[in-house]
């Protein structure tokens, strides 16, 4: 492949060429970003730890729910005995104050809740958002009007508050993590996704290859699945990557407030609820979940930014954190001008203005 041709292709500013058609091309663009690579490694480790939680705790010989009354000093209100919160060969990261439950086991099982809830919620948000967006974009005037109005209403709702209130009325018998994921995804995320997908669909529907499929008698649903979805992949993946860290924060926030995941299921947010009382006697009880939360959300955010840059070449020249911008700017120069307007229409909203709620 000649240099110029490769540059035009990688730039992908022409929306008639589905930008995510080549996974290896995406990988090549992600690979040039050092920060995103490190973040990807961290995320991979976290996912691995979450998946292997039973294995890891078996290795330590503990589980997240057993109380160890002998390891806490009941005379001092339940402070763990020993230095570093009672860390030992048996309890690698010490034990919880008051209950004596193993910290390491609770942390890795907490990763399961955190990642599981956020990924599940993201999946629901994306499916719902794409369905609504494509339906609004392809449907007639009335369908579009009604669906867009519903979406707008959901965008302007106090989502965190709705989630909080909804969690109050659902009985406790419902599996809590599933419920939290469902409520987070129903009240937030999908509406902004739908709005973006609708705009993208409107841009794509008049392109020649989509018209061709309609003219050759394909049904609307077949056109949507076979012709539109591949073109939507890049912006939707970008959006999903930004939603994941938001969902992690939302779960942690709800659990911190005591209405999310309930004990004995461990959750990082929930562990922080009473951590301020114990920070002097058992600082690791505060630091470990806080650190876990920070590292996870930070890594996910950086990775999300990296994915965005890898899929949206316009962002590459603006974002300058280890983006390998020399190669990018060369590519951009080669691909410039004729498609600038189309690229602007297809541009994914900037991470900063993606509506986020619940972190306040």
């Amino acid at each position: 492949m000649s240099e110029a041709l490769a540059a035009v292709e990688t730039a992908g500013t022409d929306i008639s060429v589905p930008a995510a058609s080549g996974a290896h091309r995406f990988w090549r663009r992600l690979r040039t970003q050092r920060a995103a690579l490190v973040a990807a490694a961290v995320v991979a480790l976290l996912v691995l730890a979450a998946l292997a939680a039973p294995l890891l705790t078996a290795l330590e010989g503990q589980d997240p729910t057993t109380y160890h009354p002998t390891l806490i000093d009941s005379a001092r209100g339940g402070v763990p005995i020993g230095s570093f919160g009672g860390a030992s060969a048996d309890h690698w990261l010490g034990v919880e104050p008051q209950t004596g439950r193993d910290m390491f086991a609770r942390l890795v099982y907490g990763a399961r809740v955190s990642l599981g809830v956020s990924l599940g919620a993201t999946l629901v948000q994306v499916v719902l958002g794409v369905a609504m967006g494509v339906a609004a974009g392809l449907g007639n005037r009335w369908i579009d009007l009604i669906l867009s109005r519903i979406t707008d209403i959901f965008i302007s709702m106090p989502l965190m508050i709705m989630a909080l209130a909804l969690l109050a009325i659902v009985p406790d018998s419902f599996p809590r993590p599933v419920l939290v994921a469902l409520i987070i995804s129903l009240v937030s995320g999908w509406s902004t996704t739908a709005k973006m997908v609708r705009a993208q669909t409107l841009a794509l529907r008049n392109l020649d290859y989509v018209s061709a499929s309609r003219l050759s008698g394909w049904s609307t649903s077949r056109t949507a699945v076979r012709e539109l979805l591949p073109g939507l992949a890049a912006p939707v993946i970008t959006y999903a990557a930004l939603l994941i860290p938001q969902n992690i924060s939302a779960e942690a926030a709800l659990s911190f407030l005591g209405v999310g995941v309930k004990p004995p299921t461990p959750s990082w947010g929930q562990m922080l609820t009473s951590a301020d009382v114990w920070y002097q006697a058992a600082p690791q009880y505060l630091l470990l979940p806080a650190l876990a939360l920070f590292v996870t959300v930070f890594a996910m955010t950086v990775l999300g930014d990296g994915v965005r840059v890898a899929l949206d070449p316009r962002a590459a020249s603006r974002l300058r954190i280890g983006t390998g911008r020399k190669r990018e700017s060369r590519a951009e120069k080669a691909a410039q001008a004729p498609n600038a307007a189309a690229a602007k229409a297809a541009q994914v909203p900037d991470a900063a203005v993606v509506k986020k709620e619940g972190r306040a």
Binding site: R149, D152, I153, I155, S156, M157, P158, M160, I161, M162, L164, A165, L166, L167, A168, I169, P171, P245, S249, A252, A253, F256, L257, G258, V259, G269, L272, A275, D276, Y279, Q280, L286, A290, L293, F294, V297, F298, M300, T301, V302, D305, R318, R320, I321, D350, A351, A352, V353, K355, K356, E357, G358, R359, A360
Partner: protein
């Protein structure tokens, strides 16, 4: 100007419709839950007698739209409640009555609102100064080391949950360094100085998180403006870099910063739940969390509606302000 007035009117109409739909959704979701509605509404601690009273008050035999109509009537014209022995009047914006404490929801909200406003208004000043300042600085120093450091810091700010920052601030400042006592909210009217001291840490934690968003937005839109042709023309005419940044690039970012600020303010009034809970500030958020935990449904519904009102209002104001700052929006 006609176009602009029309735009504002359309936006207000949209906000009213959104509020109406929101109230219907909230009403239906909370009062058509499966199970014994009266029991759920009254809360788990109610006696059978109370549950019976509540069932009568809610007029559960009536069809749903009639009940919703009564609710609307209460909202706009006031309502009378029979508390068994006496009849209590609930004046115009009547959101009902807490079955746990017997207080009227409107009263509860009115006592809590000033606290939430104190928190959000103070934090807003800090997040604007800090956020826009950082954004301008990193757009000005683009490509240098200082910009990379700032970008990394703001990214960390975006990624940190507010309760983590708040916890760390509280423990370091109040616990380890003992620079301040642990926050204990004091009313502004009682002692303005103590009020400010008690709110300093909550302001900072809320503002630090939001400032990161403002910094990212400011930087992004300034860089976009800097890439435009008219800026190149200014430079060609010999306008200095400082003037380009301060006078022209910043102007390009104003519209989006104003819009983001209105949205953030609106969602923060109710959304500062975490900050209020962490620092024990008796604001709307803390009251809501409490009401949720004891399942005090009238209070929950009232609060969600009031907070929803602020969010919808703020979104409408944001759109109008954005249109004032950037007239191209009206044409779209």
């Amino acid at each position: 100007m006609n176009g602009f007035a029309g735009f504002v009117l359309r936006r207000i109409a949209g906000a009213v419709i959104t509020l109406f739909v929101l109230s219907v959704i909230i009403y239906v979701v909370f009062y058509v839950t499966p199970g014994n509605v009266a029991q759920i509404t009254c809360g788990p601690r109610c006696s059978p007698v109370q549950v019976h009273q509540v069932a009568q008050q809610l007029q559960l035999d009536d069809p749903l739209y009639v009940r919703y109509w009564h609710f609307l009537q209460g909202l706009f014209a006031g309502q009378d409640f029979s508390t068994g022995t006496s009849v209590e009047h609930c004046p115009a914006p009547c959101l009902g009555q807490s079955y746990q404490t017997g207080r009227q929801v409107t009263d509860i909200i009115l006592t809590k609102l000033p606290v939430s406003f104190s928190l959000v208004l103070g934090a807003m000043v800090i997040w604007l100064v800090l956020g826009v300042g950082t954004g301008v600085l990193s757009a000005w120093r683009r490509g240098r080391l200082s910009e990379r450091v700032l970008t990394a810091i703001t990214l960390a700010g975006v990624a940190t949950p507010v309760f983590v920052i708040g916890l760390v601030l509280m423990i370091v400042v109040c616990g380890e360094l003992q620079l301040l006592p642990f926050p204990q909210y004091v009313n502004f009217t009682d002692d303005p100085e103590q009020w400010a001291w008690s709110l300093l840490l909550p302001w900072l934690s809320l503002a630090l998180i939001e400032a990161a968003n403002f910094a990212r937005l400011t930087r992004a839109s300034m860089l976009e403006t800097l890439a435009e042709d008219h800026i190149r023309t200014f430079r060609a005419y010999g306008v200095g870099e400082r003037a380009v940044i301060a006078r022209h690039a910043l102007r390009g970012a104003t519209a989006s910063v104003i819009a983001l600020n209105a949205v953030t303010f609106g969602s923060a009034v109710g959304g500062a739940v975490l900050t209020e809970t962490l620092f024990g500030l008796p604001g709307i958020g803390q009251e809501l969390v409490h009401a949720v935990k004891v399942v005090d449904l009238p209070v929950v519904v009232g609060m969600v509606l009031v907070i929803g009102f602020f969010v919808v209002l703020a979104n409408a104001v944001a759109d109008v302000l954005y249109a004032v700052a950037d007239r191209r929006v009206v044409l779209a």
